[in-house]
C-alpha cells in the first residue's frame, strides 16, 4: 500500500516566515510526486496548532508525517505525541529544523528558502525507510544484592528492605560493621562508634526482609538490570543462586601495607603503630608503649603513602586530630606533634575541630619529607632544613586503597576501575553511585576514599536510585531506539562487543554471533560505527536513513 505522506510547514510567527519564503516552499514541495498533503500553520506547537495537525492527519488518512519547524530537541516529543493521538506510530515522523539551523542563521532569504526546501526534501527521502517502533517493557525482580556488610552496605540494606523487596547482604568476614567497628570514637562529637554501629547491626539482623550471609563471597554474576542471577559461596561452602534486580557494591577499602614504605620504620622499630592499631589500643582503654609504660612524646604522621598512591585520602587529617584528642584526654601532659603536608579539613565544622585541638597544645609541622628512625623522627622543613624530633611513640596514617578483591569483582560485574584503582562511577558529577553497567551501584570507599558521613550519604543515594527505578510490580521501560545486529550478516568478530561502553552486547557461543541486550543499550551507535560489514544498525538512525539525507544534501 503506497505510503500517504503529509508535510506541515510551521511559520513560527515571524521567526521562520520572515526569512523563509513559505509560499515558494509550499509550491516546490507540493510539486514533488510522492507528497500527498502540504499544509502550513502559524504556530504548530500551540494548542490549536497541535489540534490542526491531528485533525489534518486523520482527515487525509496520512501514514508518514514530515514537520518543518524548530529544533527536534525542543518539540520532537510534542509532535510525536500528536502523531500517536492521531493513530499513527510516532516513529513514522520526522521533524526537520528550518528555524535555528536555517531561518535564523542565513541572512539571504533566497538561500534560506533553498536550504529549507533541501531539509524538507531530505526528510521526505528518509521517511519511507522509517520503521514503526513500539515501547518495550521488561519484567524485573525488585530484590537487591548488597556486597559488603560495612556501614555503607548496612545503610543501603536498611533503606531498601521492605515487604515487597528482599535484600541479600553478603559479607566476606563473619561479622558486620566493617572498618567502623574497629574505631574507638567517632568524629566530631567523639561518640563511641560501638553505640552507633551495634544499633545498626541489630536492625539488620532483626529485619526479616534482609537475608544475611556471613563468610560468603560472590562467585559469579550473570544477567542484567532487573534480571541478575548471582552465584554465592556461603560459609558452609554451599553454593547459592540468588535472583536479584540490582547489585550494590559496598566492599569498603583497605589500608596501604606500611611494610612497602621502609622509611616509616613500621615493623623495624618498636612503638610504631598504624592508625587502626592505635584505635584498637584506645578501644582496649590505655595508650601504652610496648614496654607497658605510657608514652611521653608522640609523633603522628599524616599522608603516609600519598606520593606513592598519587592521591590525598581526605580522611586522615581529621582522624589524626581525633588521635591527638584521644592522647590529650588520657595523657594530658604528653607531647603531641603532627607532621602533615596539607591540612584537608573542608566543610563548616572541621576547621573548628582543628583549632580546638591546636589549643590543647598539639604542635603542627608541615613537611613533605619525613623519616622514622629509632625513637626519633627526621624531617625536612619547607626551607630544606633537616630537623629531628625525639619521640617514644609514632602513629602512621596510611593511604586508603581499594579493598583486596576489587579487581576480581570488577571483572565479575563487568564494571571498570578508575582513578586509584577504585570502581569507576558512571559520571563523576551527576551519577556518582551508579556505574556504566546499569543496575550495578557502588557506595562508600569502594568508589573512592571518603569519610563516614559521605559513605552513608552514598549508601542512601544508592537506595534513592534503586527505589526510584526498580519498583516492585512496575515494569522497566528501556530505551526504544536501541541498536540491533543482523544474525545473517554478523561474523562474530566482537569488535562491537569490545567498544560498547555499557556491556550491552554479548556473544552467543552457539551461533557465534554478537547480540544486543536491548535493556542495557542506550542507542549511541558506537557499535554501528565500528562494524565493517554493516551487520549492526541503530533503530531510527540506520545507515540507509542517514545516507538518504546525504544524497539530498548533495543533489
Amino acid at each position: 500500500m503506497e505510503e500517504k505522506i503529509g508535510v506541515y510547514v510551521c511559520e513560527c510567527g515571524p521567526n521562520i516566515a520572515d526569512n523563509v519564503d513559505i509560499d515558494r516552499v509550499m509550491k516546490t514541495i507540493s510539486s514533488l510526486p510522492d507528497v500527498d498533503v502540504v499544509e502550513r500553520h502559524k504556530l504548530l506547537c500551540s494548542e490549536n496548532g497541535k489540534k490542526f495537525l491531528k485533525e489534518s492527519i486523520q482527515k487525509h488518512g496520512l501514514t508518514r508525517i514530515v514537520v518543518a519547524a524548530c529544533s527536534p530537541k525542543q518539540h520532537e516529543v510534542t509532535f510525536m505525541k500528536v502523531c500517536e493521538e492521531a493513530g499513527i506510530n510516532p516513529y513514522f515522523f520526522q521533524l526537520t529544523n528550518i528555524r535555528e539551523q536555517c531561518a535564523w542563521i542565513i541572512t539571504d532569504k533566497e538561500l534560506a528558502t533553498e536550504r529549507a526546501i533541501r531539509y524538507i526534501r531530505a526528510a521526505l527521502r528518509r521517511i519511507p525507510f522509517h520503521k514503526a517502533l513500539v515501547k518495550k517493557e521488561i519484567e524485573t525482580n525488585p530484590d537487591v544484592l548488597v556486597i559488603g556488610g560495612g556501614i555503607a552496605g548496612m545503610e543501603a540494606s536498611l533503606l531498601l528492605a521492605s515487604g515487597d523487596r528482599k535484600i541479600h547482604l553478603v559479607e566476606k568476614t563473619d561479622v558486620l560493621g566493617g572498618k567502623v567497628k574497629e574505631l574507638d570514637k567517632l568524629l566530631p562529637r567523639m561518640e563511641s562508634s560501638l553505640d552507633i554501629i551495634s544499633q545498626r547491626i541489630q536492625e539488620v539482623k532483626q529485619s526479616e526482609d534482609i537475608k544475611l550471609y556471613t563468610n560468603s563471597e560472590v562467585e559469579e554474576v550473570l544477567g542484567f538490570l532487573g534480571n541478575f542471577v548471582v552465584k554465592v559461596k556461603t560459609g558452609e561452602n554451599k553454593e547459592l543462586e540468588l535472583r536479584v534486580g540490582a547489585i550494590v557494591v559496598a566492599t569498603g577499602f583497605s589500608m596501604l601495607n606500611l611494610k612497602q614504605l621502609p622509611r616509616y620504620g613500621y615493623g623495624q622499630y618498636d612503638n610504631v603503630y598504624t592508625a587502626l592499631e592505635f584505635e584498637r589500643m584506645n578501644i582496649d582503654g590505655k595508650i601504652l608503649r610496648k614496654d607497658g609504660k605510657p608514652p611521653k612524646s608522640i609523633g603522628i604522621i599524616h599522608c603516609v603513602g600519598r606520593e606513592e598512591r598519587g592521591y590525598c585520602s581526605g580522611v586522615c587529617c581529621m582522624y589524626c586530630l581525633k588521635f591527638a584528642n584521644y592522647i590529650k584526654s588520657k595523657l594530658p601532659d604528653a607531647n603531641v606533634t603532627e607532621f602533615y603536608q596539607d591540612l584537608s579539613i573542608p566543610g563548616k565544622a572541621r576547621q573548628k575541630f582543628y583549632e580546638d585541638t591546636k589549643a590543647k597544645g598539639v604542635n603542627f609541622i608541615r613537611s613533605n619529607e619525613v623519616e622514622v628512625m629509632d625513637k626519633v623522627i627526621k624531617y625536612k622543613t619547607e626551607e630544606g632544613e633537616e630537623k629531628t624530633s625525639s619521640v617514644d611513640m609514632v602513629i602512621l596514617a596510611p593511604a586508603i586503597e581499594p579493598s583486596g578483591d576489587t579487581a576480581k569483582l570488577a571483572e565479575m560485574l563487568r564494571i571498570s576501575q578508575g582513578d586509584g584503582g577504585f570502581f569507576q562511577e558512571e559520571h563523576p558529577k551527576l551519577a556518582p553511585v551508579s556505574t556504566s553497567m546499569e543496575g550495578i551501584f557502588i557506595a562508600g570507599c569502594s568508589q573512592g576514599p571518603k569519610n563516614i558521613p559521605e559513605s552513608i550519604v552514598q549508601a542512601q543515594a544508592v537506595a534513592g536510585r534503586i527505589l526510584s527505578s526498580l519498583i516492585p510490580g512496575k515494569k522497566l521501560e528501556p530505551e526504544i531506539k536501541t541498536s540491533e545486529i543482523s544474525e545473517a550478516l554478523c561474523i562474530g568478530c566482537q569488535t562491537c562487543l569490545e567498544v560498547c561502553t555499557y556491556g550491552a552486547i554479548y556473544f552467543d557461543e552457539m551461533k557465534r554471533v554478537s547480540v544486543v541486550n536491548e535493556v542495557l543499550c542506550r542507542g549511541c551507535g558506537n557499535c554501528v560505527g565500528s562494524c565493517p560489514s554493516g551487520a549492526a544498525s541503530v533503530k531510527h538512525s540506520t545507515t540507509t536513513q542517514l545516507h538518504q539525507e546525504v544524497v539530498e544534501a548533495l543533489r
Binding site: G418, H427, P453, A461, G464, L467, S469
Partner: protein
Amino acid sequence: MDNRNILVIGAGVAGINASLSLADSGRKVYLVEQTSYTGGTVIKFEKVFSNLECATCMVAPKQQELLTKENIELFTITEVLKVEGSLGNFVVKVKKRARYVDLKACIGCSACFEPCPVSVKNEFEEGLSERKAIYIPCPGALPNVPAIDTENCVRFNGKDCKLCEEACMFEAIDFEQKDEEIELKVGAIVVATGFSSLDPKEIPKYGYRKFSDVYSALEFERMFASNGPTTGEIKLRNGESPKSVAIVHCVGREEKGYCSTICCMNSLKFVHYLKEKLPDVKISEFCSDLCIPGKSYEKFYEQTKTMGVDIIRFDDIAVKEEEKGMSVKYKIDDKGGSLPVDMVILSPALEPRKDASKLAKILGISQDEHGFFAEKHSEIASVETSREGIFIVGCAQDPKDIQDSVAQSEAAVGKILSLGG
C-alpha cells in the same frame, strides 16, 4: 506517608536531580525556584573540575528532561511563604511572582528584547554585561522564556511603554499577570537552595571593587564563558590581555572560620582557562592549604602544575595598587614577598544564602553557627533535619562539590522513598 507529593525548593543541580528521581518513582513533584531560570550556580560555569567537562553539556539534558517530565510542576520566580503540618501532611504556601510572559505561548524567539529601552547590569553575568528589563539571564537558559524585571521596567515605574508587547507576535506578554499565592499539599520537603559567595568587598585588604582588575571567581567564570559577556575572551578593564595573573585562595576563610572545600580545585581550574586563551601568561596561585581530597583531585593538581604555575603558600596576604597594575603582598612564617600582577582573581568563601535565616524560620529548622541549615546528625543523618520530613541537600547544608551535592540529593530521595507510601 499519606501525601505522596514532594516539594523541592531550589532548581540547582541538586534540586533538579532530586526532582527527576522522585518523578521517576511516580511521585508528583512541585519544584519551587526563586529565580526565573533553572540550573542554579552550575550553569554559570563554563567547565567543571576535575575532568574539565563543559557544564552546559552536562546539565542541559537534565534541564530539558525536567521541563518535559509529566509529574514535575516547575514554579519559577517563586518563594516559600509558610510551611505547616508534619511528615506526610505538610501544607505549604508559596508566592508565585508574575513573570509577565506566558510560559506556554512564548517560544523564546527574543524578538521582545531589542525594542526595550532599559539596560541594567545583568546579575547572572555578575554585572560584566547588561540586560534589558525583559530578559533571559544568558543565551541557552532554560526555560527559554524571558521575565520582566518590574524594578527597572519603565512601565512599572509610571511610563506607559508597550514596546516589548508590540514586538511579540504571539501575544505572550501580559502586563496584567498578578503575583499569586498557591497552597501545595506535600508529604516531604527537600531544601536545595545552594549557596552564595562571600562578597570580597567585605574584606578591604583584597582591593575588590577598589582596584580595576580584581575579579571574583564567578566574575572570572562568566568572563571565560563562551555564552558570556566576552564570549570567552580574557581581557582587563582596559581591553588588553593580562600578562601575569594571581589567583588567591581562602578569601574570607579566616573571617568565616571554615574551609569552603571547593575553592582550591576551582582555582586550579582557572589555570587551564588562562592557559587555553593566553598560552604564555604567567600565573601564580596563592594558597594556605591545598584541599584536594579524593581519588581524582590530586591528579588534577599535578597535571595543572605541569602547565606552568607557581604555587605560593601564605599566612597573610593583601593586594596593593601600583602605578601600573597591582602587586600581591604575602607573608609566610617570618618571610614575605611582593609580586606585581596585571589581574587578581579571588576565590571567596561559600556562605549561606542571604535569605537562609528567613527560610529556616518558615521551615521550622535550625541553622548552625555559620548560618547553614543544621543537619540532624553530622555522621549518620546529614541530609535530615530536626524536623521530620524536611531534608537539606547540597551547599545549603555544608559547602561541598557537585558530586557530593548530587549524592546528597539522591540520598534525600532514598530516605523519602524508603518511608514508603
